[in-house]
């Protein structure tokens, strides 16, 4: 039976989060915690593949206890099971330490629950924006990582292969990989429909399996949390908001003239062109 695991994360809603101007850190109380939007597409894709091929969809997250809410959201989308690893020892993890901890949990799921055929992650989280955890997991599990997936053509468990489209800047490429493998998916891969009511009821009742560090066999504690994280964030700042701006009046021709005048005067865009033009004259 096809077993797909989606790795998900609860994140602050960065669309509305405020920055503390004094400390330059995110004021987490100013934004609600949501399921990372890319991850909801990952779970939805897993649910769609289950509809096509049968099987089981599990979700896995690492986070503080309130992250149970994100797992419940995945159950609403249609996941069958949820697993969560939570422990103070995981706190402060960067992408290296996170992918290590998640790998250990995935190994436990594969060993004790059922073998894993496919792992699906969102392209990236909206709070970290790195997109490294997915490939990190794939590398550790020695699976092919297929990033930027925007269409799954086929997953064939019997013959052990998957065919997907990977998004490129000017199109897509069709890639065939062996199974098991890992996808990290783009938002456009699917559109999450309105969850059916039975899923909502299941989610409201659902309690995920929760593991601490001690539940993960053979784990190396030095690779966890802050200790296992070589990334150093030296400083963080909010981007400067663009100031002002000038409104151009008149008909389009006049506006274009005005715009050219400004740009030429500031020698920003057409510096080279101007020189050529001047040289030509």
């Amino acid at each position: 039976m096809l077993h797909i695991v989606a790795c998900i994360k609860q994140v602050p809603d960065t669309k509305i989060i405020k920055m503390n101007p004094k400390t330059n850190t995110m004021d987490r109380s100013s934004a609600p915690a949501i399921l990372n939007p890319y991850d909801s597409h990952a779970v939805e894709e897993a649910v769609r593949l289950r509809a096509r091929y049968g099987g089981v969809v599990s979700v896995l997250t690492m986070g503080p206890p309130p992250a149970v809410k994100a797992i419940k959201k995945c159950i609403e989308i249609g996941a069958d099971e949820g697993y969560m690893i939570t422990d103070r020892a995981f706190a402060g993890a960067d992408t290296l330490a996170t992918s290590y901890a998640l790998t250990k949990a995935l190994e436990k799921i594969a060993a004790e629950v059922r073998p894993i055929d496919l792992i699906i992650c969102g392209k990236m989280t909206i709070d970290g924006d790195t997109g490294q955890v997915g490939p990190g997991i794939a590398r550790r599990l020695d699976m092919p990582p297929l990033t930027s997936v925007n269409k799954v053509v086929e997953v064939n468990r019997e013959e052990c292969f998957a065919i997907v489209h990977r998004k490129l800047e000017d199109g897509y490429e069709v890639v065939r990989s062996t199974l098991p493998c890992l996808f990290s998916v783009e938002k456009e891969i699917n559109e999450a429909p309105y969850s059916p009511l039975p899923n909502m009821l299941k989610a409201a009742r659902y309690q995920p399996k929760i593991w601490s560090v001690d539940d993960l066999p053979g784990i190396d504690r030095t690779q966890l949390g802050l200790k296992g994280s070589p990334t150093i964030v030296s400083s963080v700042w909010a981007p400067q908001k663009p100031q002002g701006g000038k409104l151009l009046d008149g008909d389009p021709n006049k506006q274009a003239e005005q715009l050219l005048e400004v740009l030429l005067a500031r020698r920003e865009l057409f510096a080279a062109v101007t020189e050529t033009a001047t040289g030509g004259a």
Partner: protein, 431 residues
């Protein structure tokens, strides 16, 4: 086959949560359905929560609930354009247990309250809209939601879907409410430093104050304004009968801006940074607008049943009590295994016998009276202000002469008789 519950409660406001809480406490299999993202996300009130009725449901709730400040002073401001006569009561008995009331922010409080119901065993589903009640053979047997496979069954459906209760309306329990049966309230939450709030409102640390605004706050339209202290925010708002806004062609936000700029209010809120803007309808039709509240397999509670005492700005307490009484009636009906209208009518009876029914009855003509005779707000409050100014301005005029001036200001003999009659009438509708 749709899943079946003992009871489905539609709407996670004070009435719905109270009902679900009580039912769950008694082991009833109850589902609470909320259309918002979380309980409280769509709920609006000025912010006064009464201790007594809440405590009848969750004892000692204030020790853990996210309440803002216990109210130690209640002021009533009769406003003219550049003046106000203010009455106030402040008492230190309200500064300690058992307390009288608290300011709350509904988005926080309702979430907490719903969580309590869930801990008791209620099932909560959010972001789901109940479209209609499923009716078979003249009985409500379940609900249909907007989600795929969205039908559910229940022995009893409790309608706590708020002021416009479309569900009760579609069952024929009430008609579309008239503009003089509902008030439109708008409010803003303004962020302000704790210490500044306490200084401005003459409060010790952690204590709260409420100010109710009458007269010019609503430009003389029947309604009230309010200014409440929260922990580090102020809630300011104004609500008037919808019919009044229509008649005077005033937009609600214009009224809101007017109150915020009023010289009696401006100094209190100066520097407050707007955080939220909310608006909501309030059922103010009173006793005569209460719809049918119990039918076969269905009960109506809270705002959906128009349970608001506009004169005393009480609503959430009535909602909670109605939710609790509904739960009691359902539990009794469950023991009899009889969910007929006659059986659930026990709810209506206990509701009417409680303070809710009695107060609704006591003030049954009040809103209508003040709506019909606008002179109280339009004329008498300014008159009261002029009298106070006259009497308290020391300008060398003998006091007897000042009294004569105030007397003259009240108009001809005929007008004075009218004033006397109006106050007698006002006393009659309030007594």
């Amino acid at each position: 086959m749709p899943e079946k519950f003992d009871v489905i409660v539609v709407g996670a406001g004070p009435a719905g949560i109270a009902c679900a809480y009580e039912l769950a406490k008694h082991g009833v299999n109850v589902l609470l359905i909320e259309r918002g993202e979380y309980p409280g996300s769509k709920n609006v009130m000025g912010g006064v929560l009464y201790r007594k009725m809440m405590e009848e449901i969750v004892p000692d709730f204030h020790k853990e609930a996210p309440v803002e400040r216990p109210i130690v002073e209640q002021r009533f401001m009769m406003m003219d354009k550049t003046s106000a006569v203010t009455f106030s009561y402040k008492g230190m008995e309200w500064a300690q247990e058992p307390y009288n009331n608290f300011t709350v922010l509904r988005a926080k409080f309702d979430q907490w309250f719903a969580q309590k119901a869930v801990e008791r065993g209620a099932l909560l589903v959010c972001e789901t809209v109940v479209l209609e009640c499923v009716v078979e053979d003249g009985r409500v047997v379940g609900v249909k939601t907007d989600r795929p496979d969205g039908e559910l069954r229940a022995d009893v459906v409790v309608l706590a879907d708020g002021v416009n209760s479309l569900l009760a309306k579609s069952l024929g329990f009430h008609k579309e409410f008239r503009p003089d049966e509902v008030a439109l309230a708008t409010m803003e939450i303004l962020k302000l430093d704790k210490k500044i709030i306490e200084d401005r409102f003459n409060l010790e640390e952690g204590q709260g104050c409420t100010i109710e605004l009458f007269g010019d706050a609503t430009k003389g339209i029947l309604g009230t304004g309010f200014l409440y202290t929260n922990k580090d925010t102020l809630s300011i708002g104004v609500g008037t009968l919808l019919s009044g806004l229509i008649k005077h062609k005033i937009k609600p936000y214009e009224l809101m801006e007017y109150v915020k700029k009023h010289p009696m209010i401006r100094p209190y809120i100066q520097g407050g940074e707007p955080q939220e803007y909310l608006a909501h309808l309030i059922p103010e039709g009173g006793y005569k607008s209460i719809p049918k509240v119990a039918g076969a397999g269905v009960i109506v509670v809270g705002d959906a049943a128009q349970l608001v005492n506009a004169i005393h700005r009480e609503g959430s307490n009535m909602a909670m009590t109605s939710g609790r009484l509904a739960a009691e009636a359902i539990i009794a009906a469950k023991e009899r295994d009889d969910y007929s209208e006659a059986s659930l009518d026990a709810y209506r009876q206990s509701l009417m016998a409680s303070f809710v029914g009695q107060d609704m009855k006591k003030y049954k003509d009040a809103t209508h009276h003040f709506d019909k005779f606008p002179q109280y707000f339009e004329q008498y409050i300014p008159m009261m202000n002029r009298a106070a100014s006259q009497m308290l301005t020391v300008d060398g005029t003998p006091k007897r002469e000042k009294q004569r001036k105030i007397w003259r200001d009240m108009g001809s003999f005929g007008q004075k008789v009218k004033i006397a009659r109006d106050f007698y009438r006002a006393w009659r509708v309030m007594k």
